[in-house]
Amino acid sequence: MIALTAVLRRCRRALPAVALPAVALVVLLLPARADAIEVQRVVSDAGIEAWLVEDRSLPILALEAIFRDAGAVTDPEGKAGRAYMVGGLLNEGAGDMDALTFQRRLEDLAVHMGFDAGRDSFQVSLKTLTENRDEAFRLLRLALTEPRFDAQPVERVRSQIQAGLARDLQDPRTIAWRAWFETQFPDHPYGTPVKGTPESVAALTADDLRAFVTERLARGNLILGVVGDIDAAALKALLDETFGALPTRPAPLDIAEAGPAAPAAVTVREFPVPQSTVVFGHRGLSRDDPDFYAAMVVNYVLGGGGFTSRLMEEVREKRGLAYGIGTSLRPLDHAPLMLGSVATRNDRVGETIDILRQEWARMREQGPTPEELTAATTYLVGSFPLELTSTSAIAGMLTAIQRHGLGIDYIDRRASYIEAVTADDARRVAERLLRPEHLAAVVVGEPSGLSPAAN
């Protein structure tokens, strides 16, 4: 990793950032060779911005887009699942094409177009061969601005979501995650499943779906990342053609900030399976918190580091209690969280949760060791290029950086943020972040051995 950092820094010196009026170039990490990756800020004549990484190695193009404040959190009272259902329907007929015609067009041109609602945002993915690029963008424009919501596809997708909800009820993992959010956010949209409930999905109408498109999909909350076989000039034109017809701003929205509400407790949902699934967590740090990078280090050492984390060592490697255990920071827009999960046989649940609490407390009290801090830093810095596995993956990273306001030079600076975390920072932030007394767990299964104190 140290050598890789050196490569990156060499790149940076060789190709310094150049700022242009509409097209800002920033050199990213990467190869000390001619094809160094650059991020360009492209702004169209109408003012639509996209970040672009030109990559001519293949005749393909990937676009990732996020509409902020357009996820399930915006579902109105009684209309849970609205954003998710729109996600299933935007490529099911638009403009003068019915669902079958639209889907056939996508398939025949090998255009991959997908939509998905998360808790906070609505995501768009497009991948196309260069030769079909203009048509792919035209189809995307139609999907975003002229979706039809014909009765037949609406009923079909409704039935598919209902079948999915039924399937979720047979999966202990999904039940546990859902129950955790339900118990922690009883009075907030985060407490309701992204997919909605059987009742709310049954009640959604085509007008509800149209209202979502009109109110939530706008230029003002749109974030774009594009990677592949296109230059800035061509992209500028496509941006206006594709997104120019969207409303300027989304409708006003008022989502309350929220924190996990329920007191620390172990909540059991009885379910007839041989292994219990445990989901646990408490408040985390928001993405713009100055301590976020130190929190990343602490999380990595405690439970985020795959095979090398303390929890994995104690729970899996030493005791064989589980196939895996992991934690992650999840900075939702309105509630930063730190969450984790583990699955263990029913009669070992108590022991597993006890270990979890002990490790939580030990990290809070002592922080990572110097060796752990070094290992975490080198991993978090060095593993970053491993994410860049495809044009879509790079495009997704470009949108994530914009979403969190990290700056166009983030990729270049990221290592320095992580390397700046000192042992004192890590200890201080471990104490700030980790609150064993706030740790709330949901157990789905038929657990035994839970200590009375834990309940």
Binding site: L100, S159, V273, P274, R319, G320, Y323, R345, S383
Partner: protein, 458 residues
């Protein structure tokens, strides 16, 4: 939630997976291959987008090579491969890879066991040294076996015992094969996993882990010359063991229709599926293999496919429907069709419609224009496969451990292009016969019935 749960286990027969092109061609991956003096084949797939490499070693051994009564052995051994050598302490392998910002893992199927690391290119030497070391110098103790058996049993509960759909798939598979070891689950039967011992595991390791039974695949920002030099240095000195070619029990020609039903209190969403015994790229009536890939795409490859249109769109009986085919198996393949009912639709009605459609396909064949569309899609997707920095390594490793060659992988688009509508019809007639198939139903079981059964047992 990004929780890494690893030493993952490859799905047993790639059932229900869309008919993705399992492989692509030389112009796609640009694979180059050579063989070391000790018989270890080496494959290099260059992709210079980011300064990262994926280093994989694939062994030609999997769950179908386990001795009787020792199911789960190949997979448990895969876990134990992380327990160290003289040079590398238990758990140290993954720790060292993480310390250089890399990732590592492993997976097991019926036909292969594979280990991989993805690292910055300058660390290829280091991971290759460690991988070569554990090819011959593995050490593990009874206590490691005891702990890791528990880990695997938790893995089994998580994947299978807690999941009625997976449980049914496992049992349908056991009914599918009368004699061939594809009948056993890769993860093993719980009662046998619990009794696996150090000495038999070590003997299994010594018998199968050798350079002449392994394939090195390196993809990413690297050249063939660089890989050759490193491979000769690290793997070159390991002596061959003259590992015998695999000879497995032979499956008799299928003659009986089979049906398995799981009524489970956990089930909320029923489903119907049927798996047919099918040829592969290299075994059985392999001339049908590419036509079966096209057939799978035509009848079940997406939302405009024949099954989806009829069952989901037109008759409004199903919430979903599709087909899949796994041609990359060493001995036998599976052609798979599935459907799940819309809420309120009963299973008999759905099953009647699916079987009616399958019979129509078998009898009347498929639409020639749809064959052309499917072929176009399959070939267009090859270019996307090339976009991924690691997919080529997976495709080639899988091909080479299941009887195919690099050349087969490279000529895949031509093979698909050559498929005619008549070929597809002939493949459908050859494979879509009920006596070749196991039909599996996943159904709910009302809680009170389950309680009555419990009562009756007492």
């Amino acid at each position: 939630m990004n929780i890494v749960l690893a030493r993952l286990l490859a799905p047993i027969l790639v059932l229900g997976v869309l008919a993705a092109p399992a492989a692509a061609r030389a112009e796609v991956y640009g694979a180059e291959t050579f063989t070391l003096d000790n018989g270890m084949q080496v494959v290099v797939v260059s992709n210079h987008r980011v300064p990262v490499v994926t280093h994989m070693v694939w062994y030609r051994v999997g769950a179908a090579d386990e001795p009787p009564g020792h199911t789960g052995m190949a997979h448990l051994l895969e876990h134990l491969m992380f327990k160290g050598t003289e040079e590398v302490a238990p758990g140290e392998f993954s720790r060292r890879v993480a310390e250089i910002g890399g990732r590592d893992n492993a997976f097991t199927s019926h036909d292969f066991t594979a280990y991989y690391q993805t690292v910055a290119k300058q660390h290829l030497d280091m991971v290759m040294r460690m991988e070569a070391d554990r090819m011959t110098n593995l050490l593990f103790e009874d206590e490691h076996v005891r702990t890791e058996r528990q880990v695997v049993l938790e893995e089994r509960r998580q994947r299978t015992d807690n999941n009625p759909s997976a449980l049914l798939g496992e049992r349908a598979n056991a009914v599918m094969f009368h004699n061939h070891p594809y009948r056993t689950p890769v993860i093993g039967w719980a009662g046998e996993v619990a009794t696996l011992e150090r000495d038999t595991l070590m003997a299994f390791y010594r018998r199968h882990y050798a350079p002449d039974n392994a394939i090195l695949v390196v993809s990413g920002d690297v050249t063939t010359d660089e890989v050759r030099a490193l491979a000769e240095e690290h793997y070159g000195p390991i002596p061959a063991r003259q590992v015998a070619a695999r000879a497995r029990p032979v499956e008799p020609e299928p003659v009986v229709e089979r049906r398995v039903v799981l009524r489970h209190p956990q089930v909320q969403q029923p489903s119907w599926s049927r798996r047919y015994l099918a040829p592969t790229y290299t075994t059985g009536a392999s001339e049908h293999a590419h036509a079966l890939e096209v057939l799978s795409e035509v009848i079940g490859g997406g939302t405009t496919s024949q099954l989806y249109r009829r069952l989901v769109v037109e008759e409004e009986l199903a919430a979903g429907a599709g087909a899949g085919y796994s041609p990359e198996q060493l001995d036998y393949g599976t052609f798979y069709v599935w459907a799940s009912p819309r809420p309120g639709v009963d299973m008999e009605a759905l099953e009647a419609a699916v079987t009616d459609e399958l019979e129509a396909i078998r009898r009347n064949g498929v639409d020639a224009a749809e064959v052309e569309r499917a072929k176009t899609r399959l070939r267009a997707n090859v270019i996307y496969a090339r976009d991924s920095t690691s997919r080529g390594a997976f495709a080639l490793g899988r091909a080479l451990t299941t009887g195919s060659t690099v050349e087969d992988v490279e000529t895949w688009p031509e093979s698909i292009a050559a498929v005619t509508p008549e070929d597809v019809d002939a493949a459908a007639r050859a494979v879509l016969a009920e006596h070749r198939a196991v039909t599996a139903l996943l159904l709910p079981r009302p809680q009170d019935v389950a309680a009555d059964d419990q009562e009756a047992l007492r």
